[in-house]
């Protein structure tokens, strides 16, 4: 129901790429209308603030969790709507939904939807979670770390999460009836930026501008750099400085080009960010994966600027300066 509401609202606000009810995770678009397992039960959380140590793999944020008895690494991924499990380790999980036979890139894939029970991040306990199972080998091979899955946003929909990359800590906090972090539980106070957020298919979107041109950015903690859609930012090229041009070999061995560039004057919320690094590429397929057209993606180069909080209930994004605790 909640998803339908968002779809209705944002079909008016945005130009929906898919046009019908589809969900996408990793490189797979799911015909979700065929099966709706209903919302997962709320997690059991016997804490006000849960402090979780995090690790880093490249620019990825790694959180350890356990699925039943299996413990391992998960990537914190605000670009994924829910839990995604790596096919390598969950191929034999029970299949509960049909899915497209092919991934967006046309390559065949064995992706499917499943349900896992007894999922834990320290003292945060989920009895049951709907998850997609897909191939995450590119992260493992690119970062040489065993990855069981991705932690998408729905896991935290009742909480505020704060990531301190300087101390490598994640805070998961319960909210008061107004959707705020209770005053006594606030860890950081020196806020330098705040912005409302929107959820499209449970993916975090932030409004911003580059050199005064307005953009809608997906905020994706699994993006190791910022990305801008080349077509959408063509007129801004005069303000870009090329860092380098690179060839990338994609899934299936295809090769394509990207340009890594630098620009000033990125405004998000009430704050201007200078010296932003960004990959210029075509984001059409990524928009399809998010379920909505996307002008740009704010990743590591953006969120490393401060300690950041996503309040999923109040729909607010905040940044705090590192030196304050």
């Amino acid at each position: 129901m909640r998803r339908l509401y968002f779809l209705f609202l944002f079909t008016i606000c945005f130009n929906s790429v898919s046009g019908n009810k589809r969900l996408a995770v990793a490189d797979i678009t799911f015909k979700n209308a065929a099966y709706d397992p209903g919302p997962d039960p709320a997690p059991y959380a016997d804490f006000k603030t849960l402090v979780v140590p995090i690790k880093r793999a490249g620019n990825l944020i790694i959180v350890e969790a356990t699925v039943d008895t299996l413990e391992g690494n998960f990537v914190l991924d605000t670009g994924a709507p829910y839990l995604v499990l790596n096919e390598t380790y969950f191929r034999d999980a029970p299949r509960i939904a049909d899915q497209d036979a092919a991934g967006i890139n046309g390559a065949s894939s064995g992706a499917f939807a499943t349900v896992v029970h007894n999922f834990n991040i320290l003292d945060l306990h989920y009895d049951r979670l709907t998850a997609d199972v897909t191939d995450l080998s590119s992260i493992e091979n690119g970062r040489n770390i065993k990855i069981l899955g991705l932690l998408g946003t729905r896991l935290f929909s009742k909480f505020a999460i704060t990531v301190d990359l300087f101390r490598n800590v994640l805070y998961i906090q319960k909210l008061d009836k107004n959707g705020n972090i209770p005053e006594t539980e606030r860890v950081f106070r020196d806020r330098f930026m705040v912005s409302p957020i929107r959820f499209l298919n449970d993916v975090v979107f932030l409004k911003g501008s580059v050199n005064n041109k307005e953009f809608w950015f997906a905020f994706d903690t699994a993006a190791e750099t910022n990305l801008l859609d080349y077509d959408k930012c063509k007129k801004l090229m005069d303000n870009m400085e090329v860092i380098n041009r690179a060839k990338v070999t994609g899934v299936g061995g295809s090769s394509f080009e990207v340009i890594y560039a630098r620009f000033d004057q990125l405004i998000v919320g009430d704050r201007m960010f200078m010296k932003n690094r960004v990959l210029l590429t075509d984001l059409e397929k990524m928009g399809k994966a998010y379920g909505y057209g996307v002008d740009g993606i704010l990743g590591y180069d953006f969120f490393v600027r401060g300690i950041f909080t996503i309040n999923f209930v109040k729909k607010e994004f905040e940044m705090y300066i590192y030196t304050n605790q």
């Binding site: 996408a24 350890e64 064995g110 493992e140 090329v242 994609g250 899934v251 990959l279």
Partner: protein, 477 residues
């Protein structure tokens, strides 16, 4: 005169606008709406050209050509010359390529673009090391285990030990609370380790450990060395100061200060497997190790003691009693054919050789003729020839059950760059096996059964590959 002046001004203006058109920086790369514009000054130093060509995504092997006016490399890469004036040449390249991106997730691009050197937090190729603790809170037990103690933090609910020895797990190394602090015993092989404690979910370095290492990924970790060797010098009891130095520590005679224990001087440390040269310094005088008969003269004419750490492998070739000379050569000695000479023994030729952990190919050379080891069923094919295969300190056994009718079963994977000739398995009972040495990390592999590639039916873990045929996955912890 006035008319002439106009011409001068016009000329100056023209020159000015041309030089502006060609750009103010001699070398530059500019991005416009539809094009990249690359400007090169062929008179600029090769280093500068190298750097701009690198930014433009043109391989550095083209720099030399470009300097000679050969722009074929740029043409192949889609650059079109748009201006050439004296030494300055300008190319343009369409940005239409940027409209083709088949990837649907940012990480599919970024994990490929942002390369990471090595594996931060996993020390590699450390030659030697010794611990520096303000208070000894990490030490070996007689059981062979290593005890880590973190004193204090009595109010903490949970404390973990996390390091490269447990894949930096934040869940596995749960410590026990005792009166003396938080304690955990772990099994460590000799080597260098990085670690931290996690107290109430917050990472801290070991407060009693003075040795720290930046992991290159923005983290500072504590360092612990699990020892495997003790330098010992008997006598010299009246000496005031005895140190040991070697090629491993660049002959620094002020670092490894030995301790007097009874009538001998000692220094325990971690020393990597392989060949080391060393000497002692007693009150300023260099001496070789009187207890070590193996000595060698270095390039400067100094006599050094030689230490060879690793596994002793005895190469043995049966028969060939009429041969005059038998050598062994392999990738462990860069295939030098006349270096490792086997000694004649009863009905065979033998030579013990100390090797470090790893996988090797080798051959015997009998009176100049290269032959594979007739007693070793494990081999690999290289350039049509057969090399014998040897794994030193193997830590994993690949097994393939069944396939009893197969002629050959070959193992290949990321450990041998997918060499289709791989390593040959041996048929034992109802399975094919081979033992290999693998470093920690992820390995992909397949078997080739009579030329047909298959994933390992005994391993549930596999991932898709570019041929849609899958690769088996193995994690070495």
């Amino acid at each position: 005169m006035r008319h002439y002046g106009h011409i001068v001004i016009l000329l100056l203006l023209l020159t000015g606008s041309m030089s502006k058109a060609i750009g103010q920086n001699r070398n530059s790369l500019i991005i416009t709406e539809d094009n990249l514009i690359l400007q090169l000054d062929l008179k600029s130093p090769a280093k500068e050209l190298d750097s701009i060509l690198k930014i433009a995504g043109i391989s550095s092997s083209n720099t030399g050509k470009v300097l000679k006016g050969d722009f074929s490399g740029l043409n192949v890469d889609g650059w079109k010359m748009s201006a050439h004036e004296n030494n300055v040449v300008r190319f343009e390249r369409s940005l239409s390529d940027l409209k083709e991106n088949p990837q649907s997730q940012p990480y599919l691009i970024t994990t490929r673009i942002l390369q990471i050197d090595g594996r931060p937090g996993y020390p590699e190729n450390v030659k030697y090391g010794f611990n520096k603790y303000a208070k000894i809170t990490v030490y070996g037990l007689s059981s062979g285990l290593t005890r880590f103690i973190l004193p204090g933090y009595q109010q903490a609910k949970r404390v973990f030990l996390s390091g490269n020895f447990n894949s930096w797990s934040t869940l596995k190394g749960l410590m026990k609370k005792t009166d003396g602090g938080w304690v955990i015993d772990v099994m460590l092989a000799p080597g260098a380790y990085e670690y931290k404690y996690i107290v109430e979910s917050r990472w801290i370095t070991d407060p009693n450990n003075l040795l720290q290492m930046n992991d290159g990924g923005g983290n500072v970790n504590s360092v612990f060395y699990k020892y495997n060797y003790t330098f010992k010098l008997s006598g010299y009891t009246s000496a005031h100061r005895v140190t040991v130095a070697g090629d491993f520590n660049k002959w620094n005679a002020n670092e490894l200060i030995m301790e007097k224990k009874g009538d001998a001087w000692e220094h325990e440390l971690y020393l990597s497997d392989g060949m080391h040269q060393y000497r002692f310094m007693t009150d300023g005088q260099w001496i070789t190790d009187p207890a070590n008969p193996v000595k060698v003269k270095d390039d400067d004419g100094n006599l050094n003691s030689v230490l060879n750490l690793g596994e002793t492998v005895t190469f043995k070739l049966r028969g060939y009693s009429n041969a005059k000379k038998v050598f062994v050569a392999g990738d462990f000695n860069n295939w030098r054919p006349d270096e490792l000479s086997l000694k004649r023994a009863e009905n065979s030729w033998v030579l013990p050789v100390v090797l470090t952990a790893g996988n090797y190919n080798y051959k015997f050379i009998v009176d100049g003729e290269w032959i594979a080891d007739p007693d070793n069923p494990h081999y690999s094919i290289e350039k049509g020839g057969k090399n014998s295969f040897l794994s030193v300190k193997p830590n994993y056994t690949f097994k393939l059950k069944g396939f009893s009718d197969a002629g050959t079963v070959i193992l290949t994977g990321t450990f041998d760059n997918w060499d289709p000739n791989g390593y040959t398995l041996v048929h034992n009972g109802d399975e094919w096996t081979i033992k290999v040495y693998l470093k920690p990390g992820k390995w992909l592999y397949k078997f080739r059964v009579d030329g047909k590639w298959i994933i390992d039916p005994g391993n549930k873990l596999w991932e898709q590959n570019e041929f849609d045929t899958g690769n088996s996955v193995l994690w070495m912890e």
